[in-house]
Symmetry: D4
Subunit: 213 residues, 8 copies
C-alpha cells in the first residue's frame, strides 16, 4: 500500500530538491545542502540570505546566488528542457523579486523562460508592444501588486493558461496583497488560476509542470 | 453665523431635490414628492420601486420611471447644460443598473451623457473600439464588478478625471463588491477616485459637479 | 494594431461560445442563444435555470440541461478531443454541483473527463482507493468545501498540475468559502493553483487549456 | 492602432514626470532623474528619502526636498497655472505629511494651493472660521485619519467636488486607516470621492486634473 | 457568598423586567409576560412582533406597542423620574427605529426623553438649529448609520457624555454597520462611548443609568 | 452663530488642556506645554516618552511622569473633586498601562480613583473578593485584553455604568484587540459601552464626565 | 498498507453511523437510512427536517425526531455507557438548539448527559447555583453566543476539559458568531478548546470520545 | 459561598504554577519565581527569554530552559504520571517551537509525550510511516501552519481526541495563522477541537487534563 502512496516520487528524480530557507538557520540549510549534494541532486533554495550563500560557497564554490530572487541554485545534472517557453510578466519594477523567484524556479526545473517586466496597465501600450512574445509562450505567469489588473488584461488577450501571482507591493487598502489577490481570483477572463501572495516559487513550479506535459 | 453655514444652498436652487427611496414607504415618498412639486423643484428619486412610481403617476402623470436604474424623475424647470459631456462605461451588462443610476442622475442634474456598455477587460478590443468617445468626455464614470480592472485600464488610457464605481456583481471571493472596491482604490493609474459599491448616484453627482465647473 | 489585439480569437473558433446566465432574463438568454445558433457555434450556458432550458428547448429540442451543474449545452460541431483526460475529484457530495460545472465545461470544450467524487480527507482511504485514476490524468481538478484539505493532500500525492476549487459548502467559520480558499492558497504542496469560490467553470476552462497544449 | 492607444500621452508633455521612490534604491532614483533631466522634464519624486535628495543635489543643486511630504521636485519649465485654486484641509496635525504630498503634487502640476490645517470635527468652530477659503476653491482635498468625519462634514458644507484622503493616523480599531476609509466611502454628503489610504499624491493629481478642465 | 453575588438585584426592583423577544415564539413571550404581570413588574419587550402584541392585548388590554421601535411596554407601577433629560439624536430618518428603541427604553426606565431626528452632517445647519436642546441634556444618544460622523460632531460640540449607536443603515462598503461602528470607536472627540450596531436598547439603558446617578 | 457653536468651551476652563503626544516631536510637545503653562492651565500629556518628560522637567521641575501610563501631568490649579469615586478594574497585569492611562486621566480631571487590578475571569474569586469596592463606585472602567470577558461579568454584577476598554494584550486570533473589542460590544450585560482598543484616556475622560454630572 | 490506513474503523462499529442531512434531499437521506438499517447500525441524522423524519417514520416507526436539535435518531443496538457524565451548559435560551444537537449526539454515542441551560454571565448567580453539577462532569460543553464569555468563566471555575461552542446568536458586531468564536479562542482560562460556530455535533462527538477514554 | 467558588483550586496543588512571561520584565518574573519556590511548587514559565533563565539560574541552578519552546521549568515535587501517552505531531520543522511548548507543558503537568515531527500532508507517506505511534496515544496534538490540513487528515485517521493548534507559519494569504485556524475549525473530521494560533501551552494543558481523567 505505501509503495503505492509514494511511488510517484521516483518520477521526480530529475527534479531539483527544494529547500524553503525562511525560518531556518544557516547551519540548518548548510546541513541540508551537504546531504543533497551527496545524493547528486540539483538544488533550489528559496528565500535564502546572502549569508547562507556565503556559507555554501565556502565548500561548494560553483553555487549561484540571485540576490533579487533570493534563491540559491546548484546544478549537478542536466535537465531535459522542452522547446516551448514560459513567459513571466510583471506590472511594475517592484514586482521583480517575486517574478525572479518564479523565473529561476522554472529554469532550474528545466524550462526556457522569457521575462517581460514593467508593462502594467497604467501604461498599457507597453504591454501591447510585447504581446507577441507573451502570446508565443506555453504558459504565462502574470505578477502584479497594487490592484493586480494585469492578470485579467493578459487573460483576455492570450489564449494560454495564465498563472497569476499577487504581490504585496502597495500600501493602504492594499492590505498586504489582499487587493490583487481578490482581483485575480475574480478575474472575468477565463483561463487564469492564482497562487498565494508573493509565491513566485509556486507559480514557477506549476508553470513548469504544465510546460513539461 | 448660521446664515453663513447655510448660504451655499441657494446656489443649488437649479438642482433637483433628491429622495433616497430605499427604506421609505410609498406613502412617505409620495408625501415628499407632493411638497417638492409645490416648490416647483425638479425631482430625482433613487432606489425607487415601481409601486412608488405608480402612486406618483396617479396624481402627476408626466413623472418618469427608469426600471433598470430604479429612478423616478420629474422635470419642472429647465437646467443649464454644459456643452461637454460625461461618459459612463461598464465592464459587463450586469453593471448596467448601477451605471443607469449614474447616467440618469447626471442627466437630471443637467448634463449630456454618453453610454459605453459591456466593454470590460476580458475582451479589451471592445474598449479600444470606443476609445475616442471615452477620451472625448470631460469626466469618465467607470462602472465594474468582478475584479474591477476596468477602472485602472481606463485610467491609464484617458487623461481625464475618472470616477470609479465598484459594483456588487460577482460571487465567491468578490465579497459583495469588496474585490473591485479594493482594486479601484489601489489603481496604479493616476487620476482616479472611487465611490461606494453600487453608488451610481454618487458618481453621477460628482461627475456633474466637475462637468459644471 | 487592433487586428493584432484581437487576432487570437480566431484560434478559439472551435470553442463553444459561453453564456454566464446568472442575472440575465430568460428572454435575454434566448436571444443570445438564437444568434449563436445562427453562427453554427457550440454553446455552453452556465448558472442557467430550468426555465431558460425549457424556453430554448421550445425552438431547439436537442439542447441539453444538466440540473446539478445548472448548465445548458448545445453541440453543433465536433471538437478535437485529446487522448489524455482530466479528473475531477470532490471532497463530499455537496461539492458535486460545482464539480459538475467543471466537468461539463471541460467536456463541451473537447476533453475526456473522469469523476472521482466524495473522497474527502475525513475518510482518506477512499482517496487512496482511487489514486491510480487520479494519477493517470493530465490535469486534476480538486473541488472541496469545509476546510479544503483535499487540495493539499492530492497535491502531495500527484505529480500533475492541480487546479483547486474552494466551494461555499460549510457553515459558521467557513465564511462562505473563505476557509477552503485560504487553505488552498496556502497549500504546502507544490503544483497547485486556485480559482474563485464555486468557480467550477473557471477550473474546467483552465484544465481544458492545459489538456490541449 | 497603437499610435491610437498611446497618442494622448503627448498631451501630458507639459506635466512633470513622476517617480514613486518607495522600494527603489538611491542609485535607481538618481538614474531615472538623470535621464529625465536630459529630456528637460519637470520632476516629482514621491516617498523620497533625504539620502535620495542629497544624491541628486550633488549634481543638480536646485532640486528641492520637502521633508514633511517626502517629495523631491525639480522645475525646468513653466507650467500654465489656472486662476482658480485647490484647497487642502486636514483634520489634525498628524495628517500634514499626507496633505503636503497632495499640495506639492498639485503645485508641481501647475496649481495654486491653499492649506487649511488642523480643523477637524473635534473642534468644529475652527472649520467654520475657515469656511470661506474652503468654499472659494475649485476642488477640495479633505485629509483625515481617526474616524475621517471631516470628509462628510466638508461635503455637506461645500458645493464643490471633494476628494477625500483617509490617513493611517490612529490606533486600535482604526486598523491602519480602514476606519476613515470606510467612513469616507459611506459619506452621506454628495459630491465626494475617495482615494487610497495615505495617497496624497493621487488626490493632488486628481484635483489638478479637475482644476485644469 | 451567593447572597452577596446577587443582592444588588433588589435595587433594580423599580426597574421594568426586560424581554428580548427576537428568536422567541409568541407563546414563549406570552408566558414570560404573564408571570411578570403576577409579580407586578413594569415590562419592556424589545424586538417584538405585532403578533406578540396582539396575543398580549387579548388578556391585558392596556399593553402598548410601538411599531417603529418594535417594543412592547406595560406600566404597572410609577417610576421615579429625574428632572434632567436624555436627548436622542439621529442622522437620518432610517435611523429612527433604532433611536425609538433607545427612547422608549429610557422612558420605561423612568426618564424624560427629547427626540432630535434627521440632523445628520450632510445638512449640518439642522444640527446647529437644535444645538440648545442637545446641550441641555444630561446624556446624549447619537444614532447614525452610513459613515456615523454624527457621533464625532456632537462629541465635539457638547460637553456631556455621548453614547454613540451605529446603525446598519447603508449599503456596499457599510458592511452591515461596520463603517459607522469603526468611525464612532475612532472618534477624535472626547467623551464618547459606543454600543453594538443597532443596539438602541443598550444605549437607552446606559443613558438611564447615567441619568439616575 | 459661531459664539453659539463654541461657547460651551468656557465651561471646560477648569479642565486640563490635553496633548496627544504620539507622533509629535519633543520640541513640538515642549512648545505646546510652554504656551499652556502661560495660560495657567493644568496639563495632561498622553502617550508621552521619557525624553519629553526630561525636556519639560528642565524648565518646569514639578512636572510628573508616570512611566506605566506614559503620561505627563502638571497641576497648576485645584479642581473640584466629587465625593463619589471611579473604579478601574483590569483582567491581568499586562492591562495595567492602559488602565493607568485611564486612572491618571480621571485623576487630573478631578476624580477620586480606586484601582482593582489582575482580577480577570480565569480566577473569578479574585473579582468577588473585590466586589464591594467595585459596586461602591459611581462608574466602573473595565480594562481587559485576551477575550475581554471581564466587561460582561462586571456588567452582570454591578448596577452602575461600565465603560469597557479592550486592550491589544494577547496574540494569534486576538488580532490586535479585535477579540475583546467584539466581545465587549456584544456583551449580554446591560449598562456597558465601549471605547477604542487601548484607549485608556477616552475611558477616563468619559468616566470623569459621568462622575461630575 | 491500506488495511493499515483503514483498520481503526472497526473499532467504531458500536458507534452510530452519522448523516449530515443539510443540503441533501429527503430521498437521498431515506436511501442512506435504509442501507444503514440493513447493516443494523444505530443512526444519527443532524440538521434534519421534519419532512425527512416523516419519510423515515413511514417505514420505520420507532425513529425519533428532536425538533429543537433537528436530529433524527434510531437505536438498534445498545451502547456501553460510562458511569461519568457530560454536562452541556448554555448562556441563553437561544443557544438551546445548538446545545441539544450536542447533547443528543453525546447520548446516541453512549453517554449520560446533564443539561444546565440559560446560566450566562449577565446573571452569573445562576451559574453558581449550578456549579456542583458542572464540576461533577467528566467533560463540559459550554455553548454561548453574544460575547461568548461563558466559556472563559466556566474554564476558570472548573478543572475539567471544556469544549466551547460559539453560536451565531446575536446581531450587529457579532458577525454571525465571529465575536464568541474569537472570545473563546482567546480564553484566558486554561483547559478550553473550541469547535466551529454552531457545531453542536462536533462538541458532542469530541466530548464522547473523551468520556469513553 | 466563596469557599465554594474557589475550592477546586486545592485539587490543582500537584500542578505546577504557571507564569506567562511575555510582556513581563525579568525582575517581575524573578520575583514571581522566588515566591513560588518558597511554596515548594513546580514551575512552568512560557514565552520566557534566555535572560530570564539566566537570572533565575543565578540563584536556583537546577532550573531548565528549553530554547526552542522558550519555556523555563523547575521540578520540586514528583507528579503522578499516567501510563498512557500524548503524541505531538507537526506538519513542518517551522512548527516545532509551538509543539515544543505543548510537549513541555504536558510533561511538566505529568505526562509521557511522544513527538512525531515534520510529517505534513505535502509528503503524506511520512505520516503513514508514523501512524501506529499516533494511533497509540490517548490524545493527539496536531500542530500545523500553512493550510493546516494536517489536523483534518489526522482526525480522519485516528479515533482519539485531536487538539489542533494552528501556527502563524506561512506568508501572504496565511494572514498570521488565520488560514490554518479556519481550516482546523472547519475540519470535516469528527473529534477535533482547536486552540488559539501558536497556543502550544493551551493544547498541552488541555491534553494533560484529558490524559489524567
Ligand atoms: N517560496 C516558497 N513559497 C512556498 N513554498 C515554498 C517556497 N520555496 C519552497 N517551497 C516549498 O517548501 C518545500 C520545502 O520545504 P522544507 O522541507 O521546509 O525546506 C518545497 O518542496 C516546496 O514545496
Ligand atoms: N505616493 C504615490 N502613491 C501612489 N502612486 C504613486 C505615488 N507616487 C507616484 N505614483 C504613481 O507611480 C507612478 C510612477 O511609478 P514608477 O514608474 O514605479 O516610479 C506615477 O506615474 C504615479 O502614477
Ligand atoms: N491616548 C489618547 N487616545 C485618543 N485620543 C487622545 C488621547 N490622548 C489625548 N487624546 C485626544 O487628543 C486631543 C489632543 O490632540 P492634540 O491637539 O493633537 O494634542 C485631546 O483633546 C483628546 O481628545
Ligand atoms: N503561552 C501561553 N498562551 C496563553 N496563555 C498562557 C500561556 N502561558 C501561560 N498562560 C496562561 O497564563 C496564566 C498565567 O498568566 P500570568 O498570571 O500573567 O503569568 C496561566 O495560568 C495560563 O493560564
Ligand atoms: Mg485568456
Ligand atoms: Mg489617466
Ligand atoms: Mg503535487
Ligand atoms: Mg457637498
Ligand atoms: Mg464632547
Ligand atoms: Mg450591569
Ligand atoms: Mg479550567
Ligand atoms: Mg477522528
Amino acid at each position: 500500500g505505501f509503495a503505492k502512496v509514494d511511488h510517484h516520487r521516483e518520477l521526480r528524480q530529475g527534479y531539483p530538491e527544494i529547500i524553503y530557507c525562511q525560518g531556518k538557520t544557516t547551519e540548518h540549510v548548510v546541513g541540508i545542502v551537504k546531504s543533497m549534494l551527496e545524493k547528486g541532486s540539483n538544488i533550489l533554495g528559496t528565500r535564502a540570505t546572502e549569508e547562507m550563500y556565503e556559507a555554501i560557497k565556502a565548500f561548494y564554490p560553483v553555487v549561484q546566488y540571485h540576490p533579487l530572487a533570493k534563491t540559491i541554485t546548484i546544478k549537478q545534472k542536466e535537465q531535459e528542457v522542452p522547446s516551448s517557453y514560459i513567459v513571466v510578466v510583471t506590472g511594475g519594477t517592484s514586482d521583480i523579486p517575486v517574478s525572479e523567484e518564479a523565473a529561476i524556479t522554472a529554469e532550474i526545473l528545466g524550462n526556457k523562460v522569457e521575462r517581460v517586466y514593467d508593462v502594467g496597465v497604467a501604461g498599457i501600450h507597453r504591454l501591447f508592444a510585447n504581446i507577441d512574445i507573451i502570446r508565443g509562450a506555453q504558459v504565462v505567469i502574470a505578477v502584479a501588486g497594487m490592484e493586480g489588473a494585469l492578470g485579467s488584461v493578459i487573460g483576455g488577450l492570450v489564449e494560454k493558461p495564465v498563472i497569476a501571482v499577487p504581490t504585496s507591493v502597495g500600501y493602504g487598502a492594499n492590505f498586504g496583497g489582499l487587493a490583487p489577490l481578490l482581483s485575480m481570483l475574480n478575474s472575468c477572463s477565463s483561463g487564469t488560476a492564482v497562487v498565494n501572495i508573493d509565491n513566485g516559487f509556486g507559480a514557477g513550479y506549476m508553470a513548469s509542470m504544465i510546460n513539461h506535459l
